[in-house]
Amino acid sequence: EDFKPAIVFDMGGKSDKSFNEAAFNGVEKFKSDTGIDYLEYEVTKVSEREQATERMARKGADIVVAIGFAQAAAVEKAAKAYPDTKFTIIDMVVDLPNVQSIVFREEQGSFLVGIAAAMASKTGTVGFIGGMDIPLIRKFALGYKEGVLYANPNAEVIENMTGTTPAAWNDPTKGSELAKSQFDRNADVVFAAAGGTGLGVLQSAADEKKLAIGVDSNQDHLHPGTMLTSMLKRVDVAVYNTMMSAKDGTWKPGVQVLGLEEDGVGFSVDEWNKGVLTEDMIAAMNKAKADIIAGKIKVTNYMDK
């Protein structure tokens, strides 16, 4: 058959160890499960986003998956220009009849790792390091903070942002310095939501024998022993599912919100963080998870504020 899926990665590139890489893993899994090859493009310039999405549609892609909130405008334009093509956008809502929007409840996942952080912290101070100060990152930060305070109302959360240019997502040395400065201020667990910059944060934690929490993909394998857990954002699953559904004909437009309930976000428990993430913590996180799903705990979504 000639089903043709396409994917457009955003500026970090498909091997950013985090968000785009998760999408890449999803599409690779789709490829290996179905044997269907896909069109792909890594955006390098702001102006390329539109061109890339439209080009996919023009090339006759059946579904175009756009990764990242920044592609919303491009998807909107392309979807209007190619009403017969299916579009899926991750992390943003585009309200058009041929667009499926998948957004995640990052605050919920962040809340859970916040609990783990608070419980693992001996000093009562934990850190958060974001890439750029943009709403999406604040969403992570807010959920995390609420989780920390939920587990330990007296805890302190130090927040840092890396920079104001796109370089902020790719500056591991800066990330490592920020982490160190937080450790100097007594933090002993740090959560990085900063793309490539986060690698420096995790490294720094490993160097200083502190704990770190990864983001998006499972990053625990990077530094076994100092990785507390990773806040998983199952972009891989979302991409895989949307492509599969398009192939099967079950693809539907509209908004999909993937939270804890849908297993869209979560935390990692694996061989790498065994012992670091204790049974107590896992239990507490699972309990909170159930409470959130049941509506007993309300985690604030920054976007709704």
Binding site: G13, K14, S15, D16, K17, E21, D133, I158, E159, N160, M161, G163, T164, A167, N170, D171, P172, T173, K174, S176, E177, L178, K180, S181, D184, R185, N186, G196, L199, G200, Q203, D207, L222
Partner: protein
């Protein structure tokens, strides 16, 4: 936390951040003092960072990686010399071209060699320069003030930080107290004088650029094998330009340049701590303004205190035998 402690920890961070800046700025000093503009510091650092991480990952030795980083940086420096000295090309364009080529080539090769999306494997063990505990660090811990300073500030850095510290007096000595330094300073001021003194202008500039490559190579290797633990694309993130700014700020002299680098690094360290802090009267300053602080400070200092900088007179001009 005590103010004293805070300051010591800030300075500690300052040293780590300043190290690549100092090395790169000193590298730029040799080039620019010899009359060759070098905005390719960024590319040379990036190339070295990649080579060092790649070779360290394969060989398992940080030292071998450092060697590879230095060689790569020297090779790039020689390309710059070939374009600007041998063929009298535009020095700014050459530097930019090198920056761009390296920015593209490092992930391309990284992808081809490691299939990790242009990154190198993460380095651990001997493949990375680790912190060195200086002698007596533990025993002196209890000495008031000094002990704390020694343990927190002086001890416990990796070898390249100490190298950078040593590089300043060594480079100053080379520049001011050796034949090579005299000639480098002369050729940047008046290449005709050097030529008529029977010294080859081109060869002298090549030698200066080898020094540049050497120092820049250490700076780049530091990023990927000492401060960080592996290469990731564009990891220099503008440090080359900042080093150049520090060099100009320091008026092309080693010691003032060192202080300029320390100042940049210090504002960077302070900036991290000011984020989200509720300042009396002002409240919480938006993080973007705090992040812009080092740059605003630089502009203010330049406008207020430093005054006119006099670059080497022949800088930027290819040497053409004429009157």
């Amino acid at each position: 936390m005590e103010t004293f402690q805070i300051i010591v920890l800030l300075l500690d961070a300052t040293f780590r951040v300043a190290t690549p800046l100092v090395l790169a700025a000193l590298a730029g000093m040799f080039s620019e003092r010899a009359g060759v503009v070098d905005i390719g510091l960024e590319g040379k650092m990036l190339g070295a960072a990649f080579a060092a991480a790649a070779v360290a990952a394969v060989s398992g030795s940080a030292w071998v990686g450092l060697g590879a980083g230095i060689l790569t940086s020297i090779a790039l420096s020689m390309l710059h010399a070939y374009a600007c000295v041998t063929h009298k090309g535009n020095q700014v364009v050459s530097g930019m071209a090198i920056n761009i080529v390296v920015a593209g080539l490092t992930p391309t090769l990284g992808y081809a060699w490691f299939s990790m999306g242009g990154q190198t494997p993460s380095l651990s063990g001997d493949a990375r320069f680790k912190s060195i505990i200086l002698p007596f660090a533990e025993s002196s811990r209890d000495i008031p003030i000094f002990g704390y300073l020694y343990v927190e500030l002086i001890s416990n850095h990796n070898i390249i930080v100490y190298l950078a510290a040593a590089a300043v007096p060594i480079c100053a000595w080379i520049l001011y107290k050796t034949r090579f330094g005299l000639r480098v300073r002369a050729v940047g001021e008046n290449p005709h004088a050097v030529d008529t003194a029977g010294i080859s202008v081109d060869w002298l500039r090549y030698k200066a650029l080898i020094m540049t490559g050497f120092l820049c190579g250490i700076a780049g290797s530091y990023l990927s094998t000492a401060h960080g633990a592996g290469f990731i694309r564009d990891m220099t993130a503008g440090k080359g330009y900042l080093a150049l700014a520090a060099l100009i700020f320091g008026k092309w002299r080693p010691v003032p340049t060192l202080f300029a680098c320390l100042l940049f690094a210090f504002t960077d360290a302070v900036q991290a701590r000011l984020q989200g802090v509720d300042l009396p009267l002002i409240g919480v300053i938006p993080v973007q303004f705090i992040q812009a602080l080092p740059y605003i400070l630089t502009v203010l200092l330049l406008a207020g205190f430093v005054g006119k900088a006099h670059p080497p007179k022949a800088i930027g001009e290819p040497y053409i035998k004429e009157r």
